[in-house]
């Protein structure tokens, strides 16, 4: 399938928008009319053709634009991609996973030819044609995690498994919903989830950790997470919060439909072969409310989810300042009719 890549921005004039096809394949995360956290992990197996879960890594119409935005973020702040010294093997594992997956799943856009350790990689949308030696850092323009993830949508964290825990020891994090790689680097699973309210008391992280410690090669898993963002801004980092924070207070009934976006993260986890590390990918999808309500079921459901959302979650997800106006705007699209179970548009 050849994609048409859009020229659009995630900053300044925010020209980002979803095509009708992109709207219909949006990973709407709510299967019922209310929301509470759960571990909600399922096997990361191939989903329906054309869906965001069809392939290991989803490449969509926003690919080129997202990679350009990533390049800008990194230029302004190189600390968004870091790796502790002991994670080099895991970095190569990740590079292999990304390149083999993209070449296999999008042969129109990517190609990988391997002869022993001599690799030849082609990325047509980004105009890259590069030969290198797998395992030899001298032949790459930058570290393996940076090189590979500059060409793949979503954030990536490499977790070292030791001492019965997972440690965030490397990552590329430029499309995050308000957390800092530089700050969290070196923390373990329970520590980096420290700020999440309620979930610890529910024992969620202990169960999730136990499950992930036993994650096996060849059996990746995935789950969805969500929040909301004003403007289609990918870089909602704490580092830049003093620049984007005020957007939250600038919403009114007039602009909330166009400016407020549902932000869904498709998270997937793989066990890596050589390093035994786990890669945690966090792929971000944005949809403005006005686009979302073109799917009537989603309009009704999102209204109900937001209206009944627990206060702690409203606070933790940063929705406080516009929660009321979002609910009010969405109420126009909720006629009280029943909604079907499941996340799909029908």
């Amino acid at each position: 399938m050849t994609l048409k890549f859009k020229a659009e921005t995630f900053r300044n004039d925010f020209s980002f928008a979803n095509s009708p096809e992109a709207i219909l394949r949006f990973p709407f995360p709510f299967h019922e009319d209310k929301y509470m956290y759960s571990v909600n992990v399922e096997p990361h197996v191939s989903g329906p053709p054309g869906s965001v879960t069809e392939f290991a890594f989803d490449v969509d119409e926003h690919y080129v634009a997202e990679m350009q935005d990533r390049a800008i973020v990194l230029k302004e702040d190189p600390l968004r991609c870091q790796a502790l010294p002991h994670m080099m093997l895991a970095q190569w594992d990740l590079l292999e996973l990304i390149m083999t997956s993209l070449a296999r799943d999008y042969p129109a856009h990517f190609a990988l030819a391997r002869e022993g350790d001599s690799w030849h990689w082609i990325n047509r949308p980004m105009g890259i044609d590069h030969s290198f030696i797998f395992g030899d850092i001298a032949k790459l323009p930058c570290g393996p995690i940076e090189y590979a993830t500059r060409q793949c949508q979503g954030d990536f964290c490499l977790l070292d498994q030791r001492d019965g825990n997972l440690w965030m020891d490397a990552g590329m994090v430029t499309t995050q919903a308000d957390w800092s790689l530089d700050f969290d680097l070196g923390m373990n699973f329970v520590e980096w989830h420290g700020p999440v309210p309620l979930a610890h008391e529910l024992g969620m992280f202990d169960r999730a950790l136990k499950f992930l410690l036993n994650l096996q090669q060849g059996r990746p898993v995935r789950r969805l997470n969500w929040t909301m963002t004003v403007h289609p801004r990918l870089d909602t980092s704490p580092e830049n919060y003093h620049k984007w924070g005020k957007d939250r207070a600038a919403l009114s009934l007039e602009n909330v439909g166009d400016d407020l976006h549902l932000r869904v993260e498709l998270q997937a986890l793989w066990r890596l072969p050589r390093s035994n590390a786990i890669v945690f990918s966090i792929r971000c999808y944005l949809i403005k409310l006005r686009e979302l309500v073109t799917v009537p079921k989603w309009g009704r459901r999102l209204h109900r989810v937001l209206k009944t959302l627990a206060l702690e979650l409203v606070e933790y997800k940063g929705l406080v300042r516009y929660h009321e106006v979002a609910v009010a705007w969405l109420s126009e699209y909720d006629d009280g009719a029943p909604t079907s179970a499941g996340c799909g548009p029908e």
């Binding site: 700050f183 923390m187 520590e191 700020p195 008391e201 919060y241 702690e312």
Partner: protein, 201 residues
């Protein structure tokens, strides 16, 4: 907004003598001397012969503590006028230290954090360092925006010493950086700040 103690914050379990260690590196600051004295009292015969005490003389009772610790009779006793001078010497010692060394740290959270950073850089896993908090609750804060550190912060709001942004001091703590996160306190409504309170005296 914190429900109980945030999970990223270390728990300072207290100093107890490790009878199997071949060498005890005891590092303290200010009121942390109390923990060292208590440690010695719990220790068995021969503990002090294998102990090196490093002490930063600070606070109103600094000199008094210094004399007391010196009198314990450890194998080696060093006193320092400041945390950076202690860290300088500690780094030198850790460069040639061998397995079998046990590190004990006591003082303010900022001090403990910096000693742990030194330990980590020399290959000591933080989980095997014994720690005990004494003295002020004042926090070492890193401005998430400019990455600059501001020391000994007692209030929930602080002006970053580097870039000037007024920061809200959060509970999320980084062991790698040895600091709490400081985030712009009025990013959403510029000029409107929450009331300042002395939360960490």
């Amino acid at each position: 907004m914190s429900v109980g103690r945030i999970k990223s914050r270390p728990i300072y379990k207290g100093l107890v003598p490790d009878a199997s260690a071949k060498r005890h590196l005891i590092v303290a600051e200010g009121e942390g001397a109390e923990a060292v004295a208590a440690l010695e009292a719990k220790a068995s015969y021969g503990f002090l012969e294998r102990a090196a005490i490093f002490y930063v003389v600070s606070g109103a009772r600094g000199q008094e503590h210094k004399s007391r610790l010196e009198a314990l009779g450890a194998d080696v006793f060093y006193s320092f006028p400041s945390i950076p001078t202690l860290l300088f010497r500690l780094n030198g010692v850790l460069t040639t230290a061998t397995m079998g060394v046990r590190l004990y740290v006591s003082g303010t959270e900022g001090f403990i954090g910096q000693v742990l950073q030194a330990a980590l850089s020399h290959g000591i896993d933080h989980q095997c360092v014994l720690t005990e908090h004494h003295g002020s609750l004042a926090r070492r804060v890193q401005c998430i925006h400019c990455k600059g550190f501001t020391e000994m912060v007692k209030t929930n709001l602080v002006k970053c010493e580097h870039c000037g942004i007024t920061l809200l001091v959060r509970d999320h703590y980084s062991r790698r950086l040895g600091a709490f996160m400081g985030v712009s306190a009025d990013a959403e409504t510029p000029g409107e700040l929450p009331p300042s309170q002395e939360n960490f005296p």
